[in-house]
C-alpha cells in the first residue's frame, strides 16, 4: 500500500506532477540554472491563433475596452496643467466566470480534455478556481478546487467563501483548508488519487491563455484611438498576468508600450500566519505573492514556471488597501461600473500614474473582475472592522496592513510607490545561486539570467561578482 504520510507524498512530488501536467520539463533544461524558456512556450503551449480559437469557442476574451472619461477628468483636476493621460479599462469581468482567469483556464481545460483526462484540479483561492470550474463545466470534465479558506477559528475570508460558492455553482467539488503551505500536500494527494490534470496557473498553457489579453489591448487601442498604449498597468501576483499580457503586447508589435506591474502593499503580514490571514483585505494581487514570485518564480506547483515577470516588467509599483477600496467606489460612482476590489489594483495605480503622463498619452488598465456578496469593498471593510482593523479617512501613507485601512481624505493623496526592480533582480539571481547550491555558473546560465531579468550580460556578471560567483566556460 502506498505511503500517504506528508514526507512520502512530498517526496513523490515530481513523479505526481509529471503525470498531472504531461510535460517533461527536463528536456528544456540547458544548463544547471538555464532552460530554454521560448522553446518550452513554443513546444508545449499553443500559438496565439490557436488560443484565440479555443477562447472564442467558449465565449472567452474579446472583452470591451472602455474609456474612463470621468476618472480621467478627475485625474486632470488634480494634475499639473497639460498632465493627465486618458485612462482606458479592459472590462475582463465580461468573461464567462467574471475575470481574465477564464483565458488561462480555457487553454488548460481544453488541453486536459484533448489529452483524455477525466477531470481537472487547481489549487487556488481566487478567481482562477471559478474559471477552471466554469471551463470544466463547458467541456464536461470533473473539477476539484483546493482552497486555503479559513483560520483556526473556522472564520473564512469573505472573498474566498464567495469563490467557493461560485465554484460549486459550476458543479465543482471544493476542498477547503485552514491556513498553511501544506495545502500543496493535500493537492498532491488529490492529483494522485484521481489522476486528474493539474490545471496549474504556471504551465505554458496558463500563460499562453493570457497572451490574447495583451494582444487585444494593442489591437483595440489601434482601432479605437489610432495608436498603441503608452503604458499598460497589470495587477501582479504570481506573475502570469504580467508575463502573458506583456508577451501578447510584443506579439502585436506594441514593443514601445511600457509594462507596469502593481500590487497591494501587505508589508508586515505573514502569508502563512493563522493570525494574519483574516487581517488582510486582499487575497491576491498583493506583495505577499508579487515579491516572492518575482524573486523566485520556480516556487510554483510546476518545476519551471512559465510566469517570469522580471523578463517583462519596466516598472513595479505598490498601492495601499484603502486606496483600492476608494477607487473601487469611484469606478462605481463616476463610471457606473461596479466591479470587484481586487481587480481594481491596477486601476488604482493607473489613477496616480496618469497624473505623471501627458494629456495626449494613453494608459490602459487591463482587467476588472466580477463583484458580489463577500467579494465587495463593503464586505471587506465590514469584515476588517470585525477583525479589529481600524477604518478611517486620512493619508494613505499612514496605512499599516493588519492594523488599519486608510481611505484617502482626498484623491490627490493616492500614490503608486515604486519598488526597486534592480533590488528584486539581484535577489532573484541570489536565489538561483542559493537554490541550485552552486558557487560558479556557466556562461549559458549567465545568459539565461540576463534574459530572465531583462538585464545585460554585463550587468548580470557585475551582480554575480558582488556575491562572489564565478562565470566559467
Amino acid at each position: 500500500m502506498a505511503d500517504y504520510s506528508y514526507n512520502a507524498v512530498m517526496a513523490r512530488k515530481n513523479e505526481i506532477m509529471k503525470k498531472a501536467v504531461g510535460i517533461d520539463y527536463s528536456k528544456f533544461q540547458t544548463s544547471t540554472i538555464a532552460f530554454d524558456y521560448e522553446k518550452m512556450m513554443r513546444e508545449t503551449g499553443y500559438t496565439l491563433q490557436e488560443v484565440q480559437e479555443i477562447q472564442r469557442s467558449v465565449g472567452v476574451g474579446n472583452t470591451p475596452l472602455l474609456e474612463l472619461k470621468n476618472l480621467t477628468a478627475l485625474v486632470r483636476k488634480i494634475s499639473p496643467k497639460g498632465k493627465g493621460a486618458r485612462i482606458f479599462l479592459k472590462d475582463e469581468a465580461c468573461n464567462p466566470s467574471g475575470s481574465f482567469k477564464d483565458r488561462r483556464a480555457a487553454v488548460s481545460v481544453y488541453h486536459a480534455k484533448k489529452l483524455g483526462y477525466k477531470g481537472v484540479v487547481a489549487a487556488t483561492s481566487g478567481n482562477y478556481g471559478a474559471a477552471v470550474a466554469s471551463q470544466a463545466a463547458m467541456r464536461n470534465l470533473d473539477c476539484i478546487i483546493v482552497q486555503e479558506c479559513y483560520d483556526s477559528r473556522k472564520v473564512g475570508q469573505p472573498e474566498i467563501l464567495e469563490k467557493q460558492r461560485k465554484c460549486e455553482c459550476y458543479g465543482a467539488e471544493v476542498v477547503q483548508l485552514t491556513v498553511g503551505p501544506e495545502l500543496f500536500y493535500t493537492f498532491l494527494r488529490i492529483l494522485e488519487e484521481t489522476g486528474y490534470f493539474n490545471a496549474s496557473l504556471y504551465s505554458p498553457y496558463g500563460i499562453a491563455g493570457v497572451e490574447t489579453l495583451g494582444y487585444e489591448v494593442a489591437m483595440q487601442c489601434r482601432e479605437q484611438i489610432g495608436k498603441d498604449p503608452d503604458v499598460v498597468v497589470i495587477t501582479h501576483a504570481g506573475g502570469g498576468n504580467v508575463t502573458g499580457t506583456a508577451r501578447g503586447l510584443i506579439k502585436a508589435g506594441a514593443v514601445n508600450t511600457k509594462v507596469v506591474g502593481a500590487s497591494v502593499d501587505l508589508t508586515g503580514l505573514h502569508m502563512a500566519s493563522d493570525k494574519d490571514f483574516n487581517r488582510k483585505s486582499f487575497t491576491t494581487g498583493h506583495t505577499g505573492f508579487g515579491i516572492p514570485f518575482a524573486t523566485w518564480p520556480d516556487r510554483s506547483d510546476v518545476p519551471r514556471s512559465a510566469a517570469r515577470p522580471l523578463r517583462y516588467l519596466d516598472r513595479y509599483v505598490t498601492i495601499k488597501q484603502g486606496e483600492v477600496f476608494y477607487i473601487t467606489e469611484a469606478l462605481a460612482q463616476l463610471e457606473g461600473l461596479e466591479r470587484g476590489p481586487a481587480g481594481n489594483t491596477s486601476l488604482t495605480a493607473a489613477f496616480y500614474l496618469a497624473q505623471e503622463m501627458d494629456e495626449d498619452q494613453i494608459i490602459v488598465v487591463q482587467e476588472t473582475e466580477y463583484t458580489g456578496a463577500g467579494k465587495h469593498h463593503m464586505a471587506q471593510l465590514s469584515f476588517a472592522k470585525e477583525n479589529g482593523i481600524e477604518v478611517k479617512f486620512g493619508n494613505p501613507e499612514d496605512e499599516r496592513a493588519g492594523t488599519n485601512i486608510i481611505l484617502p481624505e482626498h484623491p490627490s493623496l493616492i500614490r503608486a510607490r515604486d519598488v526597486d526592480l534592480i533590488k528584486l533582480k539581484k535577489s532573484y539571481i541570489k536565489n538561483c545561486i542559493e537554490n541550485y547550491k552552486v558557487d560558479e555558473i556557466t556562461e549559458k546560465d549567465a545568459e539565461f539570467l540576463a534574459e530572465d531579468t531583462k538585464l545585460t550580460l554585463e550587468e548580470v556578471k557585475n551582480i554575480l561578482s558582488e556575491i562572489n560567483v564565478k562565470v566559467v566556460k
Binding site: 506528508y6 470621468n70 477628468a73 478627475l74 483636476k77 477531470g119 470533473d142 473539477c143 476539484i144 479558506c149 483556526s152 473564512g156 469573505p158 467563501l161 467557493q164 460558492r165 458543479g171 465543482a172 467539488e173 471544493v174 476542498v175 477547503q176 483548508l177 485552514t178 498553511g180 503551505p181 501544506e182 500536500y185 493535500t186 488529490i190 488519487e193 484521481t194 505573514h270 502563512a272 500566519s273 493563522d274 493570525k275 494574519d276 477600496f325 476608494y326 467606489e329 469611484a330 462605481a332 460612482q333 463616476l334 456578496a373 463577500g374 469593498h377 463593503m378 464586505a379 471587506q380 471593510l381 465590514s382 469584515f383 472592522k385 477604518v391 478611517k392 479617512f393 481611505l407 484623491p411
Partner: protein
C-alpha cells in the same frame, strides 16, 4: 439527537496534519494549530452530527471525517453597512460637478 439519513448532502471535517506534523518554517501561531479540511458530499450511511462518517463527493471520491453540517449553506454577505463608502462617492461627484 436526530438521525441524518444516508444520501443526505453534508459537510465533514478532518484533521490533515496534527500539531507537530506541520511543515517547518511556519510562523509559531500556525505551528500551534492543526491543518484542517472541510469537504462536502453525500452521506454513505445513517449518522448523527459529530459522528465519524464516510461521504461520497461530487467527483465520486470517498472521504472520511466528522459530520459537521447538513445541507451546508452559504452565509457570506455584504457585511454591515460602511458609511465611509457613501462619503467617497458624494465627495467625488461634488468635485467633478463644482470643479472644486
Amino acid at each position: 439527537m436526530e438521525i441524518v439519513k444516508k444520501g443526505t448532502y453534508v459537510q465533514v471535517h478532518q484533521i490533515v496534519l496534527n500539531v507537530g506534523e506541520r511543515a517547518a518554517n511556519l510562523p509559531e501561531e500556525t505551528q500551534k494549530v492543526p491543518l484542517e479540511m472541510w469537504v462536502k458530499g453525500y452521506l454513505n450511511h445513517d449518522a448523527k452530527l459529530g459522528d465519524e462518517v464516510e461521504i461520497t463527493t461530487l467527483t465520486n471520491r470517498v472521504v472520511k471525517g466528522k459530520l459537521v453540517e447538513v445541507n451546508p449553506c452559504y452565509k457570506h454577505d455584504f457585511g454591515k453597512f460602511v458609511p465611509e463608502i457613501l462619503k467617497i462617492g458624494q465627495d467625488l461627484r461634488r468635485m467633478l460637478k463644482d470643479g472644486e
